[in-house]
Structure formats: C-alpha cells, structure tokens
C-alpha cells in the first residue's frame, strides 16, 4: 500500500471507495458496479484478468438502471489563447 507516487493518494481512494460502495448499495445500485483494484505497471496480466472479470460481472448484473442518452459538452465559441 505504501508505494503510491503521491505518498497517500491510494489510502484516500481506498477509504472513499469503501464509503461509496455502501452508499450506492443503499440507494439501490449494486455495490459490485464499483470496484477498486491496485495494479502496478508491471502487472499487465493481472490488469487484463481484472477488467475481463469486471466486464463479465457487469454483464451479469444487466444494463445500468441509470442508462440515458449523453449529450457532448458544447465548447464556448471563444477560447483563451494566451
């Protein structure tokens, strides 16, 4: 746990995810739809395994009840240059 590039970033994330899972469960969104896994840049196979497993779990849970059409953001006509 200790080797986060930003010292404690992963510790903070861990707590927030633990909290969010419970809150989502409470409002009726399955906790499994949110998953946190520590994978270092050297652990490519574990990363692939994790993502595939996650996709299968989501497929089993069925489409998200919150699914809706998503409009892209309209950038303002004028943008800052300098």
């Amino acid at each position: 746990m200790g080797d986060c590039h930003y010292l404690y970033g992963n510790v903070a994330t861990e707590k927030r995810i633990k909290f969010m899972k419970q809150l989502l469960e409470f409002v009726g969104i399955e906790g499994e739809r949110l998953r946190r896994k520590w994978v270092s840049s050297a652990e490519a196979p574990e990363f692939v395994e994790e993502i595939t497993d996650f996709v299968n779990t989501l497929k089993a849970l069925g489409p998200s009840p919150l699914k809706r059409e998503q409009k892209p953001d309209q950038p303002s006509a004028k943008v800052a240059v300098a």
Partner: protein, 562 residues
Amino acid sequence: MAGKKKKEFEELRIGVFICDCGSNIAGHLDCKAVTEYAATLPGVVFAKENLYTCSEAGILEIQEAIKKHKLNRVVVASCSPRTHQPLFQNSCKSAGLNPYLFEMVNIRDQCSWVHMQDRENATRKAMDLVRMAVARAAFLEPQQDIESPLTPRVGVIGGGSAGLSAAEGLSRMGLEVVLVEKNKELGGLLRNLHKVAPEGVDASERLEGLIQDVSSRPNVKIFTGAELKSLDGYVGNYVMNIRDGEGQTVKESVGCLVIAIGAIPLVQKGLFGHDGKRVITQMELEPILKKGKFDAKRVVMIQCAGARGDERSYCSRICCMIAVKNAMFIKKLSPDTEIRILYRDMQMYGTEKEKMLWEARGEGIRFEVYDPAHPPEVGDKAVRLRQPLLGREIEFAYDLVVLSTPLVAREDASELSQLLRVPMDQNGFFLEAHAKLRPLDFAADGIFLAGSCRYPATYDEARSQGLGAAARVGTILFKDKLVTSAIVAEINPETCVGCMGCLQMCPYGAISYDQERKICQVNEILCKGCGCCAATCPSESASLRGFKPQQLMSQIRAVMEG
C-alpha cells in the same frame, strides 16, 4: 506568481495529428479512418496522419500546421506521453503556441499493442480516445511555467563526518555553506572513536584533516554550539533561524539544506546487566583503548545487544565491524587476552570487512553463534550460553563484557523532523524519498540527508553519502532559476471558507492558512500537482490547473457518447 495577463480569446481551432509509428499503430488499426473521423469532431480544423510524428519531419509538420492554420490547440495521437510529450510541447512552444494547449493520446501502448488481433475494435477504440482528447483540448487553458529565484547557499545541519564531507563537497563546487553543529566542536561520533577500521588509522588524525580543510575554506560559515530554531520559506528560498553559540538568533537565507545529524549508540542500563564498569558498550570501550594499555584478561563481546529484536527490529549494520576492530586492537595491546564474540550473523559485508573477519580469526579471536531464542545470560562471574553447535550450555568466565549496541536516532531528531516537515520511519531515522533510487533525497524538494541520521553508516559510507548529498544539491542550485511545471493546484480566494479540508489532505505540506484573510493558499513551488486538495474541496474552490472539472467532465461525457 506573475500577474494574470489579460486573456486573449480566439475562435477554437484544433489540429489533430495521428501517428502510424511505422507498423506499431498502423499495423493494427486503421489510422486513415481515425484521421478522417478526427476531422469531423467539433472544433477540429486540421487533421493529418504521418509515418513518424516524433521524427524531425513529423515535428516540422506540426509547427507548419500551427502557423498555416493558426491552430490554438494541438492533439497528437501516438505513443505514451512518457516518451515524447516534452518533445511535442517544446515544438508547439517554438511555433508560438502555449505548450499547455497540447493534449496527447496514447493509441499505441494502450490500444494498438494490446488489441493486435482485433483491428476493427482497435480502430473504434482509437476513435473514442481521440474524441475524448479533442473534447478535453477544447477546454484547456494557457499556463506559464513557474519560475522562482535560487539562493546559491546551502545549510548543513550536523558537523560529523557526513556533514563535514557535504560541506567540503559543496564549498569545492563553489557554493557557500552555513554549517550548524550542536556541540562545541565539530566531529560528531568520530571524535570519541579510537581507531577507524579497516586500515586502523587513528580517528583523530582522520578527523583533524577534515575539520582543517572545511574550516579553512572561505565560503564556509560555521556555527558551533548552535541549533536550528525554525525554518521558513521553500526550496530555493529558505530562511534558517539559527540560535548561535552566544544564544542570539541569526537569520541565514539558503537555497537547500543537508541534514546530517547522525545517531547515537544505545546505552541501556541493565541490558545484559550493563553497569558501565564490568559490562560496557563498544563506545565506552573506545576511551579505554585510547589509554594505550589493556589489563582485562578475558573479554566477551555480545552482538545484537538491543537490536534485531522486538524493541528495535533493525540491524544496525556497523556494530559487527566495530566489535571486530576493537577486538583486534585489544589483541595488539595485550596479545594473551582471550576474546570471545557471541554473534547471530557476522555482518561483515563487502571486500574490506570480510578480510578483517578472516584476520581476526587468524589472531585467535573466537566466534560463537547464539540462537536469538536463547540469548546469552551475563552472570556476575561468567556468561552462560546455550551453544547450538554443541547442543549444550557452556560458560565463559569474564573480566569484561562489551555489548555491541545499535545506533539509535537522537532524541531531538523528531523535533527537527517536525520543524522541517520531513517524515521519519518507525525507528526514528529520517525517511528518504525512495529507498533504492533516491536514497539521499527527501520527498519534499530542496532538503537532502546523509550519514547515520538516515541509517547507521560506516565512516567511508558517511563520506560518500555526504558528497552524494552535495551533488544532489547541485542538481538544483547549479541552475540560475528554479522552473517548475504549471500543473499545480490553485485556490479561489473569493469562494474559499478556510475550512482547511485541503490543508489536511496535502501530502507535501504545500498548503498554508492565511490568518487575516481566513483562507487557504497553495505554495506553487512545493505543490506536486497530485490533486488531493481538488478532490476533497466541497466548493471546488481548490482545483488543479489542467484538470479542472470542466476538462475532466468533458472527457468523461465524450467517452459515454461513443
């Protein structure tokens, strides 16, 4: 921070460059289709595919396109930003475009290389990635790198072998040094050593040479019997408040600091019956040896006394060498003294120390292994030991027992660590940025460490770490100004309510509270751009430049749209 210039606004004109990377990308996805798709995205006025964007030809292509099509945003879809982002940003800069209006998309390592057999999906994924980048590019804001002046002076705390070596190195490199030593004279632990292993040169002779050299140098200012009271400022612009020998407070402005306060040998009453007379520590043995005559006939040394156990779990690295050195010196003074060293592992690492061990055995010093589960017991006449090799208890009568105790952190080390806001490990030694790759740096920029305050070190290790720290200081102070990336956090003073939520989440102590205005502020030099404050601020007053809510949300919504 340079005052905010008046913002110039232009109509959004994005240029997208898709790289084939030879066959690495083009071989596994349809770059032409991705380029055509990119041209259709909102705000994109120019899209081009080329063989190698990172080659000279590719760079020229970007620079000409910026000028010809008056691009104010550039997106390059190629390899990982780690390889060529600085190269592309600099080429945008030389073409007159603010380097922070550049966005890079990895369609190689994270797309073509991992979806080699699935060309169709890889192409679609590349299109999604490019769409996300273009969506974010639209909301990028121009930034300026942060520059701050550097004071070419260095503060060295601690005048032992490590501190003196750092001071010598720094002054020889042409940097002014302010050396602060707590005791009346310089030298640290070396002062009370008798001989220095392995050549057995006299410690004081080695020390005098070093002290003479450092104190004679014109650009070294030495405060003895002095202490660092407090430290203000940040890397490049520290102000040391020193209480000098006469108790006055002296202000010294320095650019960097080297911490070399060393450590002290453990002296623990009752440890193996320690009484300072018949059961002493190696450090208490040194003055006896200095007297030049030695009368005890039977000496027993016990290694790992108070170390590698529950109380202190670490191995103090150098006490085996000290024990063997002192044992060999006793043999020189009184050859018929019987010396027995009870050890768990003889930590004689490296070429010189192992040779010492062989010579010691040659001189008849006996080494006995003991099992940590049954440590030796020091009676008032003899030391009882359960000898694993023989499988039974044996006793050695003794006149003197010498305990090899570990070096432990100084009591005021934790106070200094608070003052400098640098971390310590559970044994009270300072915690360096990275155990293997940055052993002499702290996580916070501008402060370095050397010698036993990091971890017990022999004399030559302390010297090379001191010199090493000097080189690390050089990496900062040999430049005329300190340039840090503009990707740092900022806090909106109008909406901040001073709840300090961000201050307590900042791993680098880069946020401070302003008493009068009752708001929090970011010190841009110390900020590493990790975004912890932005993530925790409920009113979005704290935000990370380049990763504002608008920029991130537009990217997320772009991927959903696919």
